[in-house]
């Protein structure tokens, strides 16, 4: 180690043993540029070195899967010769350092992943996590993130049709910004990120390369401390207009057959795009960095290769078709530059004005990256965590007071303040109202629609990561089924702390195991995703947060169901039991300030039956609305079904829960968060048929009341516990977030 000493390795986030591996793979010591290539490609962010060994256990195959993990995005068959292409990705670290640009470039990055596959992006969702809103910095982060998501998505013209937001103190120094994008492609028109055809030219197109984002992938693979603000230059700046041009031009190019492969330049920029396309195609790639369009002068090959400037694409073009490609980019005022060609020896060769500056086998950067089976240790004290300490509980407040406090809890309250800043209607496909259970877009030219939902409750995962992940997949799939769609594929975004800590790695391993378990039981394959580790600030980790995105298909878009009761005089039916589980609930957090207890149980066979029942009832038009029970339990679910757009009261009588959830039977009945439960409405004439179908499907079902009036009235065993004027409840729910965000308190 002459020129490359320990300090240089530290700056590159490489460990001494990793350096030894590099030397062994190359047969010599790397120069600094080569070391830079390894540092970004072997970063946690690009190589998945801590997580791969676990991710390999996830089920990724199914009759509808057209593309599993390993490409820019996954794809599933949705009929009519079409494919849904989708993926979720995190942009957590940049969004903490610079919320607007961090979130905006997160949106830009995932959109590129989708159109790189030859698909037109048609919908976005976001899963966001913030620290509590009584902290001014958290409000600023939320406002910045929301503006950034809107600023990018609105401008490029892709609707943000849904998502979810939760708040917890563990996200104080580590907000989560997970962005999901879905596109539609012709089934046989999917494009791969693969180089091929020796001698074919390699084109660079899009924004010029600058010094922004150098080592962004390495930044995303380290914890934060109080000097993190100094890393601001590692955050990129987004240009949605440039990406809109790239999107249109690339889709136009890909509609011809002039292209062999396409890859976007995201994390690790040009390095990742060249080595991955080469290694996937089993070929070599040679480029000259002097030909790369540059925004700044005096950039070194090292900087050019590691830059994470946004809105850049790499295309491998068929020799002889260069002019066809150039003409299309010219039309969009984009300059496509030939920077190199495909070679036959599997190496990545980088030249500067013809002179060789780096050469590395492509596979050494990609497939040969280290893979760790990191030590795992179950943290002590889990059995204590699963107890709810009855002695610590103050007197339980009246259910009606709890009901009001839950409705205005930021995690439960309407996210209108947020989604009104997102264009959720552009492309005129959005057929479920904003803020509904799932985002639903119709597919023009067919009778079909796609429903999608992203979910993941960090509190459940903190109490039991395996169960938390099972519940996350089940909830996302249930939300899709509530819209009447058959869940057909999933993507995961796994947000955890520092994997070098055995108890964090244990959380991760458990969550992946739970996710795999649920995917197999519900027969929903994982087609891709993203892992975000090192979500820690000053040594304190976020709640383990597996966020799962599920996509479902509805054959007849006219049968899409929404959350809201459609009018007065409908029967309200509860699917699922009410065992009275309060572990990890919003109730325990809001009322008692506790994160304790065991997360809800989940019977996956029962869950599957419930989802199949919902899909069948929706297609037979026997139910008129459906809403999943989640945070805040049955009482909140019923209230949300009463709210906008129709505004209908209800009269409900629930039997008491079978348990007091370790706290209080009334609270457990009304606010318990047991899984596999859905509140639906039906015309009274259809109620018998609905209950009969449920019985046949083995799904517990019971008529619990009817809609009408202007009051939300909920009784337990005949005694009225909540009687709140609809208008008052809706006001609490709709205005809570905007009240918080208007606050100027420090």
């Amino acid at each position: 180690m002459s020129m490359i000493d320990r300090a240089v390795l530290d700056r590159h986030g490489l460990k001494p043993d990793e350096y030894e591996r590099i030397v062994a793979l190359m047969g010599r010591a790397p120069n600094l540029t080569e070391l830079g290539l390894f540092s970004v490609m072997w970063s946690e962010h690009c190589s998945y070195k801590s997580s791969r060994v676990h991710l390999k256990t996830l089920p990724t195959e199914g009759p509808r899967v057209l593309q599993g993990p390993g490409e820019n995005a996954g794809a599933v068959d949705i009929g009519d010769g079409l494919a849904a292409v989708f993926k979720i990705e995190s942009h957590n670290h940049p969004s903490f350092i610079e919320p607007y640009q961090g979130a905006a470039t997160g949106v830009g990055g995932i959109i590129r992943d989708i159109f790189t596959m030859g698909a037109r992006p048609i919908a976005l969702l976001d899963a966001l996590r913030f620290g509590p809103l009584d902290v001014a910095r958290n409000r600023r982060i939320l406002q910045g993130v929301v503006s950034g998501i809107g600023g990018y998505g609105n401008s490029i013209g892709i609707p943000t049709v849904g998502g979810e937001v939760m708040f917890d103190a563990s996200y104080n120094g580590n907000p989560l910004v997970n962005v999901f994008c879905l596109g539609v492609a012709k089934r046989d028109g999917l494009v791969k990120g693969k180089a091929g055809g020796v001698g074919n030219p390699i084109y660079y197109v899009g924004a010029k390369t600058g010094r922004d984002g150098i080592h962004g992938a390495t930044m995303a693979s380290a914890e934060f401390d109080d000097k993190s603000a100094e890393k601001r230059p590692a955050v990129q700046v987004g240009d949605p207009f440039m990406e809109k041009l790239l999107l249109e031009a690339c889709l136009e190019v890909m509609a011809t057959d002039a292209c062999v492969g396409v890859q976007d330049m995201g994390a690790a920029g040009l390095t990742c795009a060249t080595s991955e396309t080469g290694s996937r195609g089993g070929v070599g790639v040679e480029i000259d960095v002097a030909r790369v369009p540059q925004r700044e002068t005096g950039m070194t090959p090292y900087e050019i290769m590691l830059s994470e400037s946004q809105e850049r694409m790499l295309l491998i073009v068929k020799r002889g078709r260069e002019q066809d490609v150039e003409r299309i980019f010219e039309k969009w005022d984009l300059h496509a530059v030939e920077i190199g060609r495909v070679t036959d020896d599997g190496w990545l060769r980088i030249r500067e004005n013809g002179q060789l500056v780096a050469e590395v086998p492509n596979r050494a950067l990609t497939d040969e990256a280290p893979m760790y089976t990191r030590p795992i240790a179950e943290p002590a004290g889990r059995d204590v965590l699963h107890q709810i300490p009855r002695a610590l509980l103050p007197v339980t407040p009246k259910p009606s007071d709890v009901f009001a406090r839950l409705l205005e809890s930021p995690t439960i309250a309407s996210k209108r303040w947020i989604y009104h800043q997102y264009d959720h209607m552009v492309r005129t496909n959005t057929i479920a109202p904003a803020g509904d259970t799932a985002g639903v877009v119709r597919i023009k030219g067919t009778t079909r629609a796609l429903a999608m939902s992203v979910d993941g409750n960090g509190r459940f995962a903190a109490l039991d990561p395996r169960q938390g992940a099972r519940l996350a997949l089940a909830e996302a799939a249930r939300n899709v089924a509530c819209a009447g769609a058959i869940p057909i594929g999933a993507t995961n975004c796994l947000n955890f702390g520092n994997p070098e800590r055995p108890e964090i790695m244990w959380q991760f391993a458990e969550a992946v195991a739970g996710l795999g378990d649920a995917c197999r039981a519900l027969e929903i394959p994982i087609t891709g995703g993203n892992v975000s580790l090192y979500n820690e600030t000053d040594g304190s980790a976020i709640l383990p947060t597996p966020v799962i995105g599920v996509v479902g298909v509805i054959d007849d878009a006219a049968n899409v169901l929404t959350r809201a009761f459609p009018g007065a005089g409908f029967d309200v039916i509860l699917f699922g039991d009410n065992p009275g589980e309060l572990g990890g609930s919003e109730y325990l957090k809001i009322v008692h300030g506790l994160l304790r207890g065991a997360p809800p149980a989940l019977d996956l066979a029962g869950e599957r039956a419930l989802q199949a029942l919902l899909v069948s009832l929706a297609s037979n038009r026997l139910i008129a609305s459906a809403h999943d029970c989640a945070e805040g339990g049955i009482a909140v679910t019923i209230a949300e079904s009463c709210f906008e757009p129709h505004g209908i009261g209800v009269d409900i009588d629930l039997p008491a829960a079978t348990s007091d959830g370790g706290v209080d039977r009334l609270a457990a009945t009304l606010f318990g968060e047991s899984a596999s439960r859905v509140v639906v409405s039906a015309r009274p004439a259809d109620t018998a048929a609905v209950l009969g179908a449920a019985r046949e499907a083995g799904v517990p079902a019971r008529r619990i009341g009817q809609t009408g009036g202007a009051v939300i009235r909920i009784a337990v065993d005949g005694k009225i516990e909540i009687a709140c004027p609809l208008e008052e409840a809706e006001m609490l729910w709709t205005t809570s977030l905007e009240k918080w965000l208007a606050s100027r308190a420090a």
Partner: protein, 239 residues
């Protein structure tokens, strides 16, 4: 009847306008790239919504220099119907076909939501099938839709009956709470002196099918078809 939908770099409601005209209304539609100098055989021109040129300078400020805009101005000067929606309206303001300017929404936030607008004038080609005072439910999606003009311009617009659409409650009442962006006189849309050029911030093309939340916007497109058909038959009679 053929609608030309002009596509600027950064237009993103071009496909929506095309879909509304072609697949919902059943008329002919064609895209016209902003570098074209001719509008072809168009009977109606739509400048669609979006973020032309990224709207980085001022909304619509660069698009007015596109080659196609000369043809659009000639088309308008000949008294033929031009509709600017959202960014298209902003472009019409920038190029001087309509008076006034757009400020940022008064709360400085982007708004995407359904609003209600009242049709105050039915004597334009795009409102000829509306009834006076009819309230339409249509979405808005903009960050800069706060219509502004000097007081004398506002006064002259009002006097000459050129305020075509206003933000109101669902019942047609002009309340400040029903004005989503702070536009002067709750102005949502105006027309040119000759009444053939109409610009509005709400998106009628996004409100043409009940499945997407409203079909109230369809009447604007039906109106222009009706108007042109009537003009056509009048001309035929005149000949």
């Amino acid at each position: 009847m053929t609608f030309a939908v002009v596509v600027f770099p950064g237009s993103n409601c071009d496909h929506d306008a095309y879909h509304a005209v072609k697949h919902v209304l059943g008329q002919q539609a064609q895209f016209v790239w902003h570098k074209e100098r001719s509008l072809g055989s168009a009977d109606v021109v739509i400048l669609p919504g979006g973020f032309s040129h990224g709207d980085y300078l001022r909304t619509g400020a660069i698009a007015r220099f596109s080659p196609v805009m000369d043809a659009v101005k000639e088309f308008a000067a000949a008294g033929r119907p031009v509709l600017g929606i959202c960014n298209g309206f902003q472009i019409l303001l920038e190029c001087g076909l309509l008076p006034g300017a757009m400020l940022r929404n008064r709360d400085l936030k982007f708004h995407c939501e359904f609003v209600h607008v009242r049709v105050d004038k039915t004597n334009t080609p795009f409102t000829s099938l509306c009834t006076q005072g009819q309230v339409l439910k249509m979405p808005i999606a903009h960050g800069e839709g706060n219509y502004y003009a000097p007081p004398d311009t506002i006064a002259s617009l009002e006097e000459s009956g050129r305020v075509v659409f206003r933000y109101t409650t669902p019942d047609g009442d002009r309340l400040d709470s029903a004005n989503p962006n702070g536009s002067l006189n709750a102005i949502a849309g105006i027309c040119s002196e000759a009444r053939n050029v109409v610009g509005l911030m709400p998106h009628p093309e996004r409100a043409c099918e009940a499945a997407v939340g409203s079909d109230d916007g369809l009447v604007l497109f039906q109106s222009v078809v009706h108007t042109l058909a009537r003009q056509g038959s009048l001309q035929a009679v005149g000949r």
